[in-house]
């Protein structure tokens, strides 16, 4: 369906109060006018100062605190901005190895989760709200009984825990009561990676790639750039290694994968292969390194790919690196370890940061066995939601329900809470003290930004309760742990303050370990079966589903598909043709006894016989925004191979579902290569003129010239570095009070993101271009505004003056870049979608940015509030704003530093250097708009010998 048709339907729907007739409208008009005339001035306002002002606080100025946020149990260091005691914005912590100053979508959206009105607010049991003392009274006799039996019958079920304090607490608890069972699992499980290391080295070890030293990287069904706790760090490292324009020194990326990942989109060579066949490529690489394994026989493109990749990998001694993903079995991981060892690959190994010496699935299976056998009488679930996100074949829901006394500590009264006898509200990560380790072992202290909004407790407090330790706060426990364990050399107070300020515990990264030469595993090439394979992946927006009630993430357009508010089954074009389905058609997927009926999204470039989909949807107890959005695939997930379900049959059934997409309404015919030019590094060196529309080009125009005599702000976006992760999109939303519109409005073609990421497919390869406002010097939106609400300022910013705007939308029509967004309803101001309008959600607003009302146009402002702040600071010191002093929200978030911002009038500024690059271009520059936002073309580094090796 094209966009025009959608808009026609929107118009047919009529205004929300369509029952108002002419008479009623006149009456309302007259009474409104009468009220306005008789109104008696503005309502009174009050100023409420402190009784005693907190130390270090200045009213009206934001405060920043270092903390860390968990994702899949691992921490990413952040710096959280708090205004008048309200945390409103998350930025990366440059000192933290898993952040390096950048963020991801989940970190950016955390502040919205804090103010989620659907959060659990009190203990709950027996169908009503209880208080904590009732829970303690109910728990105590069970604890006493368990204690008498050395803990037998008492069990803990948690997600992945890397908090040193919590681990110490649990270990002390299980040491005192040795019969206590601790089960641990994580929905984004990496058991295969763990078992692969055991297979190769006879001991668990975590591989940390050094991308900075790599020249050729081959990913086998791995997605180092995809959503996960390492995403920010790996994205920075990989794109940094690709920055150089010397083809031999730039990192060349090969990707083999069943469905599109962000890594595949950046790769110079990509091969779509169904998950089972990926191992064949690994085996072929091993063979070329001298392993005695059988030769790969077909498919031909896989053979060519493997040969070219093998040649390239071996040609760069010490620079070749092969990575396998969690979907591949342990043998493939072991084989990759062997290959990396042969290649002397730039990899380090550390002991696993996750200390529990058992795989997640194995742990979950033993929980099921114990629960079935009736060995668990009292179950404490800390922060996990297994009823929703455990593999379906384990039937966890029945096991949890079978336990006589079960209590879940969680942020929401979710699916698991419904099966437990007690639900307990968990303190949000921004509300309570804790600590956490990053994927490389670096520890951070989790600092609260605000007192708990509700009567909630942390996992530390629950462990203290279980250990009968009354009194210590989470702060005391965390501080107490580090007083004992930290390397503070006696002066703990100084060390503690410095550690809190840095956000990183110094020298806490895991030490590198040396391992024996890896053993060659038993592995043989396979051929694919006739049936489909269902490949699961964490969702780029909701991850494992724990973010399902976050409106920013639900409405964050997924890379490639641009789908929001839902998921779909992704099918290859060839499979879709043979099934006779198009986008939105419902199919039935049958795997053994499990049946799933879901809509299809056809994906060019996906491996045939592969159905790809993402986790995190189809929640039954997420909250008012996330419940019943999309379909749940956890129930199809097999515990033995949690990322792929083999032998699935797919058939078309009648019916359609409207997929909610924000782009791709029609195909571009040839323009894409002008909108997103791409060059090979080798060509860049050869051709001085790439035929691009250069920044600063000045085609003939009727627009009057501007006199610029002060700063001239401009942005450069490097599409070669953009991986399409959406961090900038959500960061912009958080910084600029950009509302969500909800699925109904998306369905009629409306959305409010100030920054969108365009995805152009050229020659079957997607590529990303973030598109904010271009801040044209000759802005087409300006002359058409009848009230001068769209207007230029002296620094070249194209302003939108909300209090002038009357909503004609002429500017939107006249904008060639389509970056203007109109408030058809009061999306942020009285007509919000569901619980997004609750009072508590307003606490997330940035006070430096106007909340726009209904009928007002808005768009990217280059974060004018940040420019103003820097300008005022500079003017107080009687100096110019330094180059790099202003960092826009999107720029700060970007993990790959693809966005630069600065002053064109400063000849030495970085922005001028970037605009002078040979691959710099202005989007639609031929229109004569003289955009201030310009781009660097996408650069690829293909293997010149690729395809020549065919013999």
């Amino acid at each position: 369906m094209n966009k025009q048709l959608r808009l026609d339907q929107a118009n047919m729907r009529g205004p929300p109060n369509s029952e108002v007739d002419r008479r009623a409208a006149l009456k309302l008009f007259v009474s409104g006018a009468a009220l306005a005339l008789a109104s008696c001035g503005r309502p009174a306002e009050q100023i409420v100062p402190y009784v005693e002002i907190p130390d270090g606080m200045t009213p009206g100025l934001p405060m920043r605190f270092a903390s860390a946020l968990p994702l899949a149990g691992y921490g990413r260091g952040v710096i959280v901005t708090s205004v008048e005691g309200r945390p409103i914005k998350v930025d990366g912590n440059p000192r933290h190895p898993a952040s390096l100053g950048s963020t991801d979508v989940f970190a950016e959206a955390t502040v919205l989760s804090l103010y989620d009105p659907d959060r659990s607010q009190a203990p709950y049991s027996g169908g009503r709200v209880q208080d904590w003392s009732a829970f303690e009274a109910a728990l105590q006799p069970r604890l006493d009984k368990a204690r008498a039996r050395h803990g037998a019958g008492l069990a803990l079920l948690t997600g992945r825990i890397t908090s040193p304090t919590l681990i110490a607490q649990i270990e002390a608890f299980t040491k005192a009561l040795p019969q206590v069972k601790w089960y641990r699992y994580e929905p984004s499980e990496d058991d295969a990676i763990r078992n692969g290391a055991i297979l190769a080295f006879n001991r668990p070890a975590t591989l940390l790639p050094r991308f900075a030293d790599a020249r050729v990287v081959l990913t086998l069904d791995a997605d180092p750039l995809g959503a996960g706790p390492e995403q920010i760090r790996f994205a920075r490292d990989i794109t940094q290694a690709r920055r150089t324009h010397v083809p031999d020194q730039s990192l060349r990326l090969y990707a083999v994968e069943p469905a599109w990942t962000l890594t595949g989109a950046l790769a110079d060579h990509r091969l779509a292969l169904r998950p089972e066949l990926v191992r064949n490529v690994a085996i072929e690489i091993a063979r070329s390194l001298g392993a005695s394994v059988p030769e790969l026989k077909g498919p031909p493109e896989a053979e060519h790919f493997a040969k070219a990749a093998a040649a390239d990998l071996t040609a760069r001694q010490g620079g070749g690196l092969v990575l396998a993903g969690p979907r591949q079995p342990p043998e493939v991981h072991a084989l990759c370890h062997w290959i990396n060892n042969e290649l002397s690959a730039p990899v380090d190994f550390i002991a696993p940061v996750d200390p529990l010496n058992i795989g997640g699935i194995a742990s979950l299976k033993s929980f099921v066995a114990d629960a079935r056998a009736g060995a668990i009488e009292t179950l404490m679930i800390l922060g996990a939601n297994p009823v929703y996100d455990a593999p379906g074949d384990l039937a966890i829901a029945d096991c949890v329900a079978a336990v006589p006394f079960s209590a879940q500590l969680g942020l929401y009264r979710d699916e698991t809470a419904a099966r437990c006898t007690w639900h307990l509200p968990l303190t949000h990560v921004l509300e309570g003290w804790s600590d956490i380790r990053a994927f490389d072992g670096t520890a951070s202290i989790v600092q609260p930004l605000i007192r708990p909004l509700y009567d909630s407790r942390t996992a530390h407090q629950i462990m203290a309760l279980l250990s009968n330790a009354t009194g210590p706060s989470s702060f005391d426990m965390v501080r107490g742990y580090w007083q004992q364990a930290g390397k503070h050399g006696g002066d703990f107070e100084d060390w503690w303050r410095q550690t809190l300020q840095d956000g990183v515990v110094a020298d806490s990264a895991a030490a590198k370990i040396s391992l024996p030469a890896p053993q060659m595993p038993e592995v043989a090439p396979v051929s694919g079966g006739e049936n489909f394979t269902l490949a699961f992946a964490p969702d780029p927006s909701l991850f494992d589903g724990s973010f399902a009630n976050n409106a920013w993430l639900q409405e964050c357009p997924k890379p490639f598909t641009k789908q929001v508010w839902g998921n779909a089954l992704h099918l290859a074009e060839s499979d879709a043709q043979s099934l006779g389905v198009v986008d939105g058609d419902m199919v039935r997927l049958v795997a053994g006894k499990a049946v799933l009926e879901a809509p299809v999204l056809v994906r060019q470039g996906q491996a045939s016989h592969t159905v790809a989909t993402t986790l995190g949807y189809g929640r039954a107890g997420a909250g008012s925004l996330g419940t019943a959005v999309g379909f749940d695939v956890y129930r199809l997930r097999p515990s033995d191979s949690p990322w792929a379900l083999a032998d699935v049959s797919v058939s078309k059934i009648g019916g359609r579902q409207n997929l909610l997409l924000t782009q791709h309404f029609f195909e571009l015919e040839g323009e894409a290569k002008d909108l997103q030019p791409r060059f090979a590094l080798a060509d860049l060196a050869k051709k001085p003129d790439l035929g691009l529309s250069k920044p600063g080009g000045n085609p003939a125009t009727l627009y009057p010239p501007h006199d610029y005599d002060t700063y001239e702000w401009a942005m450069v976006i490097d599409t070669a570095a953009c991986i399409g992760c959406n961090a900038c999109v959500v960061a912009c939303q958080a910084e600029n009070n950009v509302p969500i519109v909800g699925p109904d409005e998306i369905a009629v073609g409306r959305d409010m993101h100030w920054l969108r990421i365009d995805d152009y497919v050229i020659g079957g390869k997607p590529g990303f271009s973030p598109v904010p406002c271009m801040h044209c010097e000759h802005a087409p939106c300006e002359p058409v505004c009848p009230v001068a609400a769209s207007i230029h300022d002296s620094e070249g910013l194209n302003l939108q003056v909300y209090n002038r705007c009357v909503g004609t939308r002429f500017c939107q029509s006249n904008c060639p870049y389509k970056v203007r967004r109109f408030n058809f309803y009061g999306y942020a101001d009285g007509e919000e979608y569901k619980s997004f309008g609750d009072d508590i959600v307003k606490a997330v607003f940035n006070p430096d940015v106007t909340v726009r009302g209904r009928g007002v146009m808005e768009k990217c402002t280059y974060c004018v509030q940040r420019i103003s702040r820097a300008r005022r600071a500079a003017e107080k010191d009687h100096r110019k704003i330094h180059d790099g002093e202003i960092v826009t929200a999107c720029q700060a978030a970007c993990p790959t530093r693809a966005i630069a911002f600065g002053d064109l009038s400063d000849a030495n500024s970085r922005i001028n250097a970037l605009r002078a690059e040979p691959q710099a271009y202005a989007l639609l520059g031929e229109l004569g708009t003289r955009p201030r936002t310009t781009y660097l073309a996408r650069l690829e580094n293909p293997n010149p010998d690729f395809g020549k090796a065919q013999s």
Partner: protein, 217 residues
């Protein structure tokens, strides 16, 4: 046949014709005048406060510096009102039993802040920053009026956009040397027109104070 029109009919007709031309303009002009009148901008209202704090006594009489209470004014967009603790630095010793100070003592005892009524109010879409005005030499009394003579506060300036722009277009008449910014009794010297131009040249780095983005974002 009687006359259809009375003798004054012509006069009425002419008056109506003139009124058609004049009244709309007059009404618009009156509307503009009214909207910026002290009545409409609420400059005439002296705002009651929970504690009748007198600037006349504290500033005019005792000579307290503005920044003793409004501590954030040089660094923050808001001037800030003092925490109860600041009041009690003196009033734990002076007037300790005064009835009018009971709310202050209660505030400290109960750890409940005092709710002051706001006097100077700007619309939410205006982002005013006290600190930059102070740094550039706009004195407190330029906008807040002669506080040293005001027992209770009222809004001294219209705070309309026209009034803001008046100064943003030509700040020279209002600029003071840095040493005079907090002087509650400052009067423009006779040669302010020259002094202001020199101060503007020295201190004002932004020649574009009328850009919309300076106040609206």
């Amino acid at each position: 046949m009687p006359h259809l029109f009375r003798p004054y009919a012509d006069t009425v007709a002419r008056a109506v014709l003139i009124a058609i031309l004049v009244v709309p303009f007059a009404a618009i002009a009156a509307g503009y005048w009214l909207s910026a009148s002290p009545y409409e901008t609420e400059q005439t209202i002296t705002v009651d406060q929970p504690v009748p704090f007198s600037h006349e006594h504290h500033v005019g009489g005792l000579g307290l510096d503005c920044r003793y209470c409004h501590t954030a004014v040089e660094t923050s967009p808001v001037a800030s009102l003092p925490p109860t603790h600041t009041c009690m630095t003196c009033h734990s010793q002076l007037y300790t039993q005064a009835a009018m100070l009971a709310p202050v003592r209660e505030s400290l005892a109960d750890n409940e802040p005092i709710h002051w009524n706001k006097v100077n109010r700007l619309p939410d879409y205006v982002y005013f920053d006290h600190s930059i005005h102070i740094a550039k030499g706009i004195g407190c009394t330029t906008c807040h009026g002669p506080v040293a003579t005001m027992p209770l506060m009222r809004q001294a300036a219209p705070l309309t956009m026209g009034w803001c722009l008046n100064c943003h277009r030509d700040p020279a008449p209002y600029l003071r040397p840095a040493s005079e910014v907090f002087d509650p009794d400052w009067q423009a010297p006779a040669d302010q027109s020259q002094r202001g131009i020199i101060l503007a040249h020295k201190n004002l780095d932004n020649a574009h104070l009328t850009d919309c983005s300076v106040c609206h974002r």
